[in-house]
Subunit: 179 residues, 2 copies
Amino acid sequence: MAKRGETREKILSAAAQMAAERGISATAVDDIAAAAGVAKGSVYYNFGSKEGLYAELLGETLQRAGQRLRESLDTAVAGDAVRSVAEAFLRGLQEHPASSKVVAAELFRLDRPWRESLAEYRSLFFSMFAEALEKDDRPAGPANAAAIFGSTIMVGFERMLFADRLSLAEAVAAIEGAS
Amino acid sequence: MAKRGETREKILSAAAQMAAERGISATAVDDIAAAAGVAKGSVYYNFGSKEGLYAELLGETLQRAGQRLRESLDTAVAGDAVRSVAEAFLRGLQEHPASSKVVAAELFRLDRPWRESLAEYRSLFFSMFAEALEKDDRPAGPANAAAIFGSTIMVGFERMLFADRLSLAEAVAAIEGAS
DNA sequence: TAAACTAAACTGACTGGTCAGTACAAATAG
DNA sequence: CTATTTGTACTGACCAGTCAGTTTAGTTTA
C-alpha cells in the first residue's frame, strides 16, 4: 500500500491534469480517483472535499509562484528587475503547465469559493510587479502594474498553448516593450 | 403580453447580470427566468438551451467589441493607433460591464462548448492589435500583440472592479507605456 | 361587431441524469 | 494498535431540458 504522501501526490497530479483539460467543475471526483488509481474514499480521507482538494492545488501553485517572484525580485539588479520577474513568471508556467492552466482559467472567475484567496495572490503579484517597476525607475502606479502583469500572463498563456513557437527571450522582450 | 423582442431582452439582461456575479455554470436557468420575471419555458422557447442563450450573449458582446476595434483602427492616425484601439476597448468594457465580465471570465476557459468561437475572437483581437502596432511602426510579432492585448484586458478589468479609481487617460497611458 | 379561429408566445410542474458526499466493513502497513 | 486505504453501495440535492396545456394578438367569417 502506498504511503500517505504518495497517495496525496497521485491525487493532486491527476486533479491538475484533468482540470487543465476540462476545467474544475467538469471534473468529477470519481474520475480523479480513477485517474489517480485510488479509491474515492481516499480523496475524501486526504482532502475532505473536492473544494478542499482544489484549494490545496491552487494554494500550492500560487505560493510557489509567489516565492519565485519574490526571489527573482530580491536578487535582480536595478534596471533589470522587470525583465527578471517576468522571466521567472514564465519559467514557472513552463515547469508546471497543468496546474498553471487551472490557475489561469480560475484567475478571472467570480463564483468560486477560493475567489478571496485568488484575489489576494493577484494583488500580491501586482505589488511585486510594481516593486520591480520602481526598482527600474519606471512609473509604478496600479495601472502600470496591471499592464505589466496582464501582458506577462497573456504572453505566458500564448506560449503554453503554442508550445515552442515562442522562445523565452522573445516573450520577455515583448513584455518589456509593451509597457 | 410582451412582444417577443422584449422577452428576449429581459432574459439576456438577467442572464448577463447573474453570470457576471456568479459565473455561467453557477447560474441556473430557473434563476435566470425568475430574475427576468418570465417562465422557464420561455427561455427554452426563445433560446433553445442554456448553451444557446449564452452563446448568443457572448456572440453579441464579442461582435460589438470587434466592430468597435475595427472602426477605431481604421480611423486612427499612424502613430496613435495603439492608443486609439486600447481606448476603444476600454470604452466597450465600461459601457457593457456585465456581459464584459462574463466574456473576460470565459476567455481563458478550456472546457466550454463555445471555446472555438472565443478562440476565434481572441485571435481576431490579437490580429487587430498587431495591425495597430504595425501602423505605429512598432514591433508587431505575435508576442507583441499578445502583450498589448493582455495589458489592455488586465487594466480594463482592474478598472471595472475599482470603478472610478482609474481615469481612462491614466489607463491608456499605462497600456501604451512610458517609452 | 362580435364570435370563431389560428398560430405564436408563454407557462410551470415534472422527469431523468449527474455527481458530491456518506457509510462501513474489510484489508494492509508501520 | 493506529493510521491509512480500499471497494461498493447508497443518498440527496441540484438542475437542464420537456411537454401538455393556457394565454394573447391578430385575422377571418357571418
